[in-house]
Amino acid sequence: MKIAIHQPNYLPYPGFFAKAGLCDKFVIYDTAQFTRGDFINRNRIRTFSFNGTMWLTLPVGKKKYEGVPITEVKIKDEAIFGEHGKTLKMMYSRALYYNQEVCDVVGTAHESLAEHNTFLIQYILQKLDMKPLVVHSSELNISIGHGTSGIIDIVKALNGTEYISGLGAKTYLEEERFKEESIALSYIAYEPLRYTQMHPGFVENTSIIDAIFNVGWSELEKALKNTEIQRQGEV
C-alpha cells in the first residue's frame, strides 16, 4: 500500500500530481500549519511578456492565520474565485487546449482554503484519470507528530507499506526511522515537464493550469504517468 502526503496547495505544479498518481492513498495534509509566502494560497501562471509570470493569490488576511492548521483558514474575499477564473481566461483563452470548464471550476466559491484547494485537486486528479484514495489528515483522528514521526504516524494509520516522497524531502527525512518501522521509502524521480508554452519563453513548474491549457489533459496524463520512483533499499 503506497502512501503519499502533501499539503493542499493552490492549483499546484505538475509534480504534485505526478506524486499523487503513483500512490494508492493520497493524504491531503490539511492539519499542517498554514505558512504565508508558500504555495498553499497562491501559485504562478504565465503572462505574455518573455518568461513572464504572475501570481494568483487567494487572500486570507494579514498574519491572522500564520501557524494555524490549514483547515481553519478562510478566504477573505468571495469575489476572488470569479476573478481568478476570469484571469485564466484572459491569459489562456488563445491556448490550444483552453477550455472554459477549467476556468469555471477554478471560479467556484468555497469558504475554506483547504476545501477549495482539495476540490480543485480532486477535479484535476479525476481529469488525469488518477485514482488514489484521497484521505484528509484531519479525518484520521490520530495524533500526528512532527517531521518524520508525523509522516510515519499517517502511513501507519493507513496501513501503508511504502511512503512516496518528493526528492526535496531527502535532506530532512530520517530514512533509518522508516526501516525501523518496516516502511519502504521511495522518492519520485520527477523531472520538470518540458513542453512548448503558448506564451514567449518557458518557465518551469508553474501551476498545472499552464500545462493543461498548453498540451491538453491527455498528453499531460501520459507525461505525468511516466514519472518513475527511486526505491531506497528494500526493507
Partner: protein, 380 residues
C-alpha cells in the same frame, strides 16, 4: 563606421525553450524509427484541426500540393477555377497540374483580395470553383459574398490560407470558412514546419482521399492503388517542428499585431505612404504588412533606398500579378490592361519587414528610414 545590422523582411522564430523541446522530440522520433506517417504527424493534424475549427486536417509536404490535392478531389479536369491574380504563382499552377484552367480575377484595391463581383462575372458553364486568397493574412472581408456566389452556382469555395494561420473573421478562423482550406508552412510563414502544408475541411471524404493521394494513391485498408498519387507525405521531423510552432502561434500573432500597430501609427506621420484598413470583425495574422505608396513616390526607388542606404529588406504582394507572368501571357493570352485594378495597385504596394524577432527599435529604424527614403524617392 560600423554597418547597421540588416533587417530582413521575414524569418522564422524559435525561442530556446522551443528549440530544446523540438530537439527532445526529434531525438525521440529518430530513436523510434518511425520517421514518416507516425504519431507526430497524427498529433499535428489533430491539433491543427482543433485550432482551425474543422473536423479534419491532413498534413502534406507543401502548401502547393495541398492545393493540388483539393483540386484533384473536386475533379476540375477540363473545367475552370476562378483564381485571384494577386497570389503566388503556385495557386494558379496547381489548377493547371490538376487538369483545369485558372481563370484570373481582379482584386479590390482596399483589401488586395479577390473582387467577388469580378469573380462572378468570370463564371461560365465550365467553372467548378472559386479560390479566395487571404492575402498578407487578412481574411477576405467579402468571404460571405463569395460563399453565396459559390452556393448559388454550385461551386466549391477553396481558401488559400497560406498567409493566414490564425487569422479570423467574426471569430471564425481562416481555413474553416469554405469547403476546403490550404495552408503552407514555408519558413517565412506565420508558423513553419520547415517545409510543409495542411488541408483543412469538414468533408471526411476529401480528407480520406487526400490521405490516399499524398501516399502514391494507395488505399491503406485495401492495400491497393485507387488513385494516381504522389509522395506528398509530411515526415515526422517536420511535424515535430510544426506542432511546437502551432502551440506558440497565438503569441506569434499577438507580436505581429503589436508590430503592425506601431507601423500604422508611424505611417500616419510619413507623407506619401499609407497602411491598409482592417475591419473590426477581422483578426489579421500579419504574415506581411502591406503599405501603399502614393503616386508622387517611386515605389521601386523607395525599396532600393531602404535596402542600399539602411540595410532594410522589403517585399511585394504580388508583383507582377499572375496574369502578367510570361507563362500565363503565353498560355492564356493575358495582356496588360486585362485586370486593371491589380495592375494599378500592386506595383505600388511594398511589404515592410514583419516577423516575431523585430524589436521596437527595429520598427523605429524602419519608420525613420522610410521617412528619409520616401522624400528621396519623391518624383519631382
Amino acid at each position: 563606421m560600423q554597418k547597421e545590422k540588416e533587417i530582413v523582411s521575414a524569418r522564422p522564430f524559435f525561442d530556446n525553450a522551443a528549440i530544446r523541446n523540438i530537439l527532445a522530440d526529434v531525438k525521440k522520433t529518430l530513436k523510434s524509427g518511425l520517421l514518416t506517417e507516425g504519431p507526430y504527424v497524427k498529433k499535428f493534424e489533430e491539433e491543427f484541426a482543433r485550432y482551425v475549427g474543422t473536423k479534419e486536417a491532413v498534413a502534406v509536404n507543401s502548401g502547393t500540393c495541398s492545393l493540388e490535392i483539393a483540386f484533384r478531389y473536386f475533379g476540375i479536369r477540363g473545367g475552370e477555377v476562378v483564381v485571384p491574380t494577386n497570389t503566388f504563382i503556385a495557386s494558379g499552377n496547381t489548377v493547371l497540374f490538376a487538369g483545369g484552367k485558372p481563370v484570373l480575377a481582379d482584386i479590390k484595391e482596399e483589401t488586395l483580395c479577390i473582387d467577388p463581383d469580378d469573380a462572378q462575372k468570370r463564371i461560365t458553364s465550365k467553372t467548378r470553383g472559386i479560390m479566395v486568397v487571404h492575402i498578407a493574412g487578412l481574411v477576405c472581408p467579402e468571404i460571405n459574398q463569395l460563399r453565396e456566389i459559390c452556393h448559388d452556382h454550385k461551386l466549391f469555395l477553396m481558401e488559400d490560407a497560406a498567409h493566414a494561420h490564425g487569422a479570423m473573421i467574426d471569430g471564425k478562423k481562416a481555413g474553416s470558412l469554405g469547403d476546403v482550406g490550404s495552408f503552407s508552412f514555408f519558413p517565412t510563414k506565420v508558423m513553419t514546419s520547415c517545409e510543409g502544408g495542411m488541408i483543412t475541411t469538414d468533408d471526411h471524404k476529401l480528407a480520406h482521399m487526400a490521405r490516399i493521394i499524398r501516399a502514391h494513391g494507395m488505399d491503406k485498408e485495401l492495400g491497393q492503388a485507387v488513385r494516381l498519387g504522389y509522395n506528398w507525405r509530411m515526415h515526422e521531423l517536420s511535424a515535430v517542428v510544426g506542432l511546437h510552432q502551432l502551440r506558440q502561434l497565438e503569441s506569434f500573432i499577438k507580436k505581429r499585431g503589436e508590430i503592425a500597430k506601431k507601423y500604422e501609427i508611424g505611417l500616419k506621420k510619413i507623407d506619401g505612404v499609407k497602411s491598409f484598413f482592417t475591419p473590426s470583425n477581422i483578426r489579421h495574422s500579419y504574415y506581411k504588412f502591406p503599405m501603399y505608396v502614393e503616386n508622387e513616390i517611386d515605389p521601386g526607388k523607395l525599396a532600393a533606398f531602404l535596402k542600399s542606404d539602411f540595410h532594410i529588406s522589403t517585399g511585394n504582394i504580388y508583383y507582377p500579378p499572375c496574369h502578367l507572368h510570361p507563362l500565363y501571357k503565353e498560355l492564356f493570352k493575358y495582356k496588360e490592361g486585362d485586370l486593371p485594378v491589380s495592375e494599378r495597385v500592386l506595383k505600388r504596394v511594398i511589404a515592410l519587414p514583419m516577423h516575431v524577432l523585430l524589436t521596437t527599435s527595429d520598427v523605429d529604424r524602419v519608420l525613420k528610414a522610410l521617412k528619409i527614403s520616401a522624400e528621396k524617392a519623391h518624383i519631382s
